[in-house]
């Protein structure tokens, strides 16, 4: 039976394996038919920043095209395509966290929110997992 998972993420991109573990959790939950609501808190609001760009790899001597360097915003966009209908992916970027980081230019999909929305999600969903940062 389809249920809904509220997932709180905190780590910024390119720092911890928790980012990709979080994405694996979202992907698996969606694939298994569950809805996912992501609350991006603190550094995690940077995961969806639109200005992220892939880069070449001078050590390996690869170009941008050859390297196909992943960006977290592209991965999140792919997760949004998975969760565009039923099951559904929703994503809130904590507004105050966005403001203090100047991280307001993000890809299509996430919306701005705060503790009010998180409290509502926790009440309304079957499970909540918090993945904190250290």
């Amino acid at each position: 039976m389809a249920k809904t998972l509220t997932l709180v993420l905190m780590d910024p991109p390119y720092e911890k394996e928790t980012t990709t573990t979080g994405f694996r959790i979202i992907e698996s939950a969606l694939r298994q038919g569950h809805n996912v609501k992501v609350f991006a808190y603190e550094g995690a609001v940077n995961l969806t920043m639109k200005d992220q760009q892939p880069h070449p790899n001078p050590v390996k001597g690869t170009t941008v095209e050859q390297e196909q360097h992943p960006t977290t915003k592209d991965w999140v966009a792919a997760l949004f395509r998975m969760g565009s209908g039923s099951p559904k992916l929703e994503w809130i970027n904590c507004g105050l966290c966005v403001d203090e980081r100047g991280a307001g230019n993000w890809i299509e999909g996430p919306r701005r929110g705060g503790p009010k929305e998180l409290a509502e999600w926790v009440q309304a969903t079957e499970a909540t997992l918090v993945i904190p940062t250290k």
């Binding site: 298994q32 499970a127 993945i131």
Partner: protein
């Protein structure tokens, strides 16, 4: 009694707090709760047979179900047949099934 999934992303070589998280799992099990202990990220490092920390994980495995993230194992070159006794490889899908189980509380460490 309750059901829990404790997700361990840290390893005892880096974090002294791992012992407290294992003790929490044992304490919950001793209290009659059903506990799954899911190792992921560097949390799978002590699951390699022969490592200095294997005793504590094997001991934990006697009271709770200890699972190790298949991807994290493969990522670190730890073969499924080289795991500490009592540790079983498990997929991320299995973790989701646990998290989404009615009434099971999920904690990340």
């Amino acid at each position: 009694m309750g059901k829990y999934v404790l997700i361990e992303s840290r390893d005892p070589f880096d974090s002294a707090d791992c012992k407290n998280f294992r003790d929490l799992a044992s304490g919950l099990a001793k209290g009659g709760n059903e506990v799954a202990f899911f190792l992921t990220q560097n949390g799978v490092l002590p699951a390699r047979r022969g490592c200095a920390a294997e005793g504590s994980l094997a001991e934990l495995g006697r009271s709770v179900s200890v699972l190790a993230d298949e991807f994290a194992l493969r990522e670190r070159g730890i073969d499924a047949d080289a795991l500490v006794e009592g540790v079983r490889p498990a997929s991320i899908d299995a973790l989701i099934a646990l998290i989404m189980e009615d009434g099971r509380k999920a904690l990340w460490h």
